[in-house]
């Protein structure tokens, strides 16, 4: 008897397995990866009664069409997502995010698209039957690390599910309010003074927009050029998620979960931890403003962010 599994009838454009990510490997060039929106990842797990660090399916823009086979289960989707559940009687049920659903053998989840954000999460009761690589389930497609040989999922592949013993799933729901606004809070970077007075002014006072060059590694921005008055290269040094670096062309790049571990472009600023989920969800064309905060404020804002996440988690536990 094999476990229940999802058969992938349509893969979607960037469907991977993610979790909290992979630590203690930057020094050999392996990046953190992990769900790009950690809050929505945790909420998805919470809604199906999983441990919060269980593996989930992450998708972007157009999601997958999945058919459950070989058993029944219970799932939830988080994000800002348009999806349907195709029941066995061919009835199509419109899905709502932030609540859990039963799914029977043979039924399908059609994740049609994200709405105003880039990423969404599907958690299944009991999690997926996968092996960890360096203590994480996350797929890193650039380094080809993780489940599915480190690759995005494609059509006809299967994702096996851990058999969950219970047949009775309680209904759970979160009253989620998207706290989106277009102000991204940052702390000045270690190379802030490489930039001209005018560039510093522009960075904090003019709008930038998310370009089409965006993936799990990073997000290039369109907007006024930032003039560097010292050097457009530095000796390569370590990078972290949220660093905003400016290459010679003067256009900022925000580093996301699959970023390179070291690099040689000056760092003008770093997105505060409280705003990392929000940044990762921005879609091309969105206008944003950067606002400077100090370290103390950033630490307080992270506490507020954690408290809000916990408030949501409490709603469904």
């Amino acid at each position: 008897m094999t476990n229940p599994y999802f058969e992938i009838l349509r893969s979607g454009i960037n469907t991977t397995i993610q979790d909290v990510g992979r630590n203690h490997l930057y020094h050999i060039g392996i990046t953190v990866s992990g769900a790009i929106d950690q809050r929505n990842y945790k909420l998805a797990n919470c809604l199906v009664n999983n441990k919060l660090n269980e593996a989930v399916i992450e998708f972007a823009y157009q999601g997958p069409l999945l058919k459950l086979k070989n058993g029944n289960s219970n799932f939830a989707i988080t994000g800002d997502i348009f999806f349907n559940i195709i029941r066995n009687n061919s009835k199509i049920e419109e899905g709502k995010c932030y609540q859990n659903y039963n799914l029977k053998d043979g039924e399908q989840i059609d994740i049609i698209s994200t709405k105003k954000s880039a990423y969404g999460y599907l958690a299944i009761r009991g999690g997926f039957e996968l092996e960890k690589t360096w203590k994480s389930y996350s797929i890193n497609t650039k380094a080809q690390i993780g489940p599915n040989n480190g690759k995005k999922y494609s059509i006809n592949e299967k994702i096996f599910i851990n058999d969950s013993t219970s047949e009775n799933y309680e209904n759970k729901k979160i009253n989620y309010k998207d706290s989106f606004n277009n102000t991204i809070r940052v702390i000045k970077g270690t190379n802030f003074d490489y930039f001209s007075k005018e560039a510093k002014n522009i960075f904090f006072n003019q709008a930038y927009s998310v370009s089409r060059l965006v993936d799990r590694m990073g997000m290039r921005l369109d907007g006024p050029n930032l003039e560097n008055i010292i050097n457009t290269n530095i000796k390569s040094e370590g990078l972290i998620r949220g660093v905003i670096q400016v290459p010679a062309d003067g256009k900022p790049i925000i580093l996301l979960s699959d970023h390179g571990t070291i690099g040689g472009y000056p760092k003008i600023a770093v997105v505060i931890s409280a705003d990392l989920d929000k940044v990762a969800q921005l879609v091309p064309g969105t206008k944003i403003h950067f606002k400077e905060v100090n370290l103390e404020d950033a630490e307080k804002l992270f506490k507020d962010y954690s408290a809000e996440t916990n408030k949501y988690l409490n709603e469904c536990s």
Binding site: N23, H24, L25, Y26, H27, I28, G29, I30, V32, T133, W134, K142, A143, Q144, I145, G150, I187, G189, T190, K235, S236, E237, G238, L239, I240, G242, V243, G260, T261, I262, G263, K267, V270, V271, I272, S273, L295, A298, E299, F302, S306
Partner: protein, 228 residues
């Protein structure tokens, strides 16, 4: 020693060892890296998620829900590095084939240095290299220092794909492309030796910061027959 410690965002400590790039400075970076790595393994410090040594910087990333910048800064400032025993780093031999199909940039190098290919190879193979750091892509070692006679800038237009195993040079450094990747280094040869073992979960990176590397030249025949 550390010249300055500041925050990089709200979840990383940026330890600056100055602007010079040489072995002495990098050995300090690696001492701190080794020392902190042990403290993390022994669970004497909680909350550190990553340690990234580079030529003259060490970035200590942490989980902001467990520890904060001020506390970690104090810990780093109080480390007794002087008493810390240096790790025994390894000496690793790497075979390289420099035939024309692997050494993609010899025309450019001969033209730029105005010396023969054999002379370039002599300068390259005569030196023992020091691994300053690994990264950018998984397991890629940054090695130095090249002989002053064979230092050159990056390609103006980087290659979209540099083959796995390629050995490149740029400025005072040499590197090895551990997997196929975009890249702008001048390629002088290719090694059949696997530098990054994706499936070796215990010890994936052959070359680690602080290790010494000796390159030796092999023929195409030896290259093709090479078995790790």
């Amino acid at each position: 020693m550390i010249k300055n410690i500041c925050n990089l965002g709200d979840a990383a400590v940026f330890c600056d060892f100055g602007s010079d790039v040489n072995e002495t400075v990098n050995e300090y970076v690696i001492d701190y890296f080794n020392h902190l790595t042990d403290l993390v393994k022994q669970e004497q410090i909680k909350g550190i998620t990553n340690l990234t040594p580079s030529y003259n910087k060490l970035i200590v990333s942490f989980d902001i829900s467990i520890i904060n910048f001020a506390k970690l800064k104090k810990i780093i400032e109080n480390l007794n590095i002087g008493k810390y025993l240096k790790k025994d780093n390894q000496k690793i031999k790497i075979p390289v084939c420099c035939d024309i199909e692997y050494g993609l940039d010899f025309d450019r190098l001969i033209n730029k240095f105005n010396i023969s290919k054999n002379e370039i190879l002599k300068f390259f193979f005569d030196k023992e290299y020091f691994c300053y750091m690994t990264g950018f892509i998984a397991g890629m070692p940054f090695l130095g220092d090249l002989d002053k006679k064979i230092r050159i800038n990056r390609l103006e237009t980087p290659r979209v794909k540099v083959p796995e195993g390629s050995v490149g040079i740029t400025e005072q450094f040499a590197n090895i492309y551990t997997s196929e990747s975009p890249g702008g280094w001048n390629i002088i040869g290719n090694t059949p030796k696997k530098i990054f073992h994706r499936l070796n979960l215990q010890n994936p990176a052959l070359i680690k910061p602080g290790d010494k590397v000796i390159f030796y030249q092999i023929s195409k025949e030896e290259y093709l027959k090479f078995n790790d």
